[in-house]
Symmetry: C2
Subunit: 416 residues, 2 copies
């Protein structure tokens, strides 16, 4: 019964990730075409090439008068030049035509005078108070995006401003990667669905909704497999069913060493290679296991909600991003000053929950004291975390550290 003594060896996060990813094939992901109105936060599957120049024609960048720049040379407030207003389609020598921002530049014109730099004299003349150079106040054809240029790169997560650019090119449907499907299973005899009645020794299940929500935030589609009892056959059957429909499976609970080590056992019976890593040199989330069955990854998280959160953060998040082909996308990072010292355990990468806020122009991070990974309120009182490396036993008061934000930053005493 050696295993009862705890994990014999803990694997570092980096090693574990490498082993896990090396056991998977990351092929080009499945693609679907969606209307741009449904494309927010989806990930572009192909480079989007501009089929047209943007703008499609030289246009005025301001409200004012289109002119030949040369006609304004030498004009000043003390020595204005006079131009004749035209309503024709062409601006000839000595003429000006009124234009509004965005209007196509009339033939013959090569610059625009701003309203402020002109005085209207009657209905047919303007006095020009300043000189403009050719192309001044003009948006040149193709200066935003030239025809043939890449307007948005493959693997861009589409945000509001990307959708504006895509619309500007007249594109109404875009190829995006399908949402990876993530099957989520909670295990534990003691678990009951929120809203139902608790009996003695039972507790409410908390992790499925949290993990499903994290999937939504990443652009993955959660598939809820519900709650399984601590029963190898039930776990196997539900996981098998889930893996048929999903691309990734995530479980919580039943991952500690010992008699309750059911999920890893079930997974090893399900297929090869099974569990690849079990026991990570991190805190919380030490009992996390990583597995692959029939080419599908399974992330086996602790039943403790805080451990499940960080196990998901460290392994499921980069996995989902990698499936979607996204590189370098990070949670926002704020560098902040610790309000007090916090101690951690040597030899484990420790994820310290903090509340980070900006006050009077300075960023502060207040460590949330935690007594265990079961204390969910250490997450809800926090909005970010600090990663303390294995070779440190804590962080000093006043130390400046990068904080990874998983919730909004709070700002006090500031405008805008």
């Amino acid at each position: 019964m050696v295993r009862l003594r705890g994990f014999q060896k803990l694997t570092t996060i980096e090693e574990a990730k490498k082993l896990f990813f090396d056991n998977q094939k990351f092929r080009r992901w499945k693609i679907e075409l969606v209307p741009i109105w449904d494309a927010l936060n989806r990930v572009l599957a192909d480079d989007l090439i501009a089929g047209e120049n943007l703008p499609r024609f030289d246009r005025s960048a301001v409200d004012g008068y289109a002119v030949k720049a040369r006609d304004t040379f030498g004009a000043s407030q003390f020595k204005p030049k006079t131009l004749k207003l035209t309503s024709g389609s062409e601006v000839k020598k000595g003429e000006a035509k009124q234009v509004w921002t965005g209007n196509r530049l009339p033939i013959g014109a090569d610059a625009v005078l701003m309203l402020e730099d002109v005085r209207r004299v009657g209905d047919s003349l303007i006095e020009v108070w300043t000189a403009v150079t050719p192309s001044e106040n003009v948006s040149k054809r193709g200066e935003d995006i030239a025809k043939g240029e890449v307007a948005a790169k493959a693997r861009t997560r589409l945000k509001p401003h990307h959708l504006a650019l895509i619309s500007a090119l007249g594109i109404s449907e875009v190829p995006v990667f399908k949402k990876p499907k993530v099957a989520i299973l909670a295990t534990g005899n003691e678990l009951v669905e929120a809203g139902e009645k608790l009996r003695q020794d039972q507790i409410y299940e908390t992790n499925r909704i949290m993990l499903a929500s994290l999937c939504h935030e990443l652009g993955a589609e959660p598939i809820d497999l519900g709650i399984a009892k601590d029963d190898i056959d039930e776990i196997k059957q539900k996981l098998k069913h889930g893996l048929k429909k999903a691309d990734v499976a995530v479980t919580t609970g039943g991952t500690s060493v010992g008699v309750s080590d059911l999920v890893p056992t079930a997974i090893n019976e399900l297929g090869k290679p099974g569990v690849i890593v079990h026991g990570i040199a991190m805190r919380p989330a030490m009992p996390t296991a990583l597995a692959v069955v029939d080419s599908k990854p399974i992330i086996v998280l602790s039943g403790n909600p805080v451990a499940a959160f960080f196990g998901f953060e460290v392994f499921a998040r980069p996995l989902i991003l990698r499936i979607l082909g996204i590189e370098n996308e990070s949670r926002p990072i704020v560098v902040a000053r610790l309000t007090r010292r916090t101690s951690t355990v040597l030899g484990r990468k420790t994820f310290v929950r903090v509340r980070v806020f900006k006050q009077n122009g300075e960023f502060y991070a207040e460590p949330i004291s935690a007594r265990g990974s079961g204390i969910i309120s250490t997450l809800t009182r926090a909005n970010g975390y600090i990663i303390v490396p294995e070779n440190r036993d804590g962080l000093e008061d006043d130390e400046t550290v990068p904080v990874h934000l998983f919730d909004a930053l709070e700002v006090f005493n500031e405008n805008v």
Copy 2:
């Protein structure tokens, strides 16, 4: 025709916001009850009070053996103590009972020995190698959230970890503020819907999808009013219809001074007080107007997509947050070093688009050169912005500045 010369007076952002907000009544917002599975990113309407202790009972925080702490006093690896295993419901003097993380602490036990600190001797005994103090490795009843405590404050935007906590309390439905409805109207004779065919001098409409997406991100519900021609009656009729269904209206286009100044004119004809501010000392988005008609706020944005983006950012975003009662929620802010100098205009608060990234542990912000607020790619090449105050004509190379992120941070050459 004095107005043709441009805005006579620009209002600062702070003044404009104050005038705009002072002309509105922010009453307690409408509430609805939603299932927690639909509550992600919704805003909690009331304090959520814990009806039960969390945990509901003292429980083991580790896998191990529940004991009376006193029985372990003096135990060490050199001088272990021996305890008798029990399978009963109570732990008596000299006894230990095996427990797994999360198990209710058996009657009589007051601490838990970790597996690592114990050696099992046959089926009925354990050797204890270390002493534990009372409550050691125990999650005390109510230590996460005590009965009657506020588990989540009113006005919390519900993130995955909040939903976990709410589930833990057995709550399956939560009162949230209704989504403010935002009617969005684009105006302009030249505008065509993406996907349709362009004729000479026409351009594709870009702003409705961008603004609707920004509304989604904030937890508001956009109502698309489509495109209106540059026609006062059409604008009035569409806005009136929109204001009937919506809580806020946002328009784009037709806001410059001059003959195309149609939207402010239409609004003033619609009702009182009408346009409150027109012309803001900011860049881009100078021609933004703020109005109130029959107690409903209207934000009149420029037709230029970049100006529309920043007008929304500065006025619509805080308005929507204020309606939802959210204070202090900020976009993530990263302090970064400018990769090169950037010049701005004195007397205007300038929003400089930058691409911010983290490389080898340092944050850098690369200004995106912009030649006009019509250049959408200055947004898509950026992921954040810097606010340059009115009294500066630029920022120096190497200067360290706060960047507001509107898209994901890019991180290079780093592990988590």
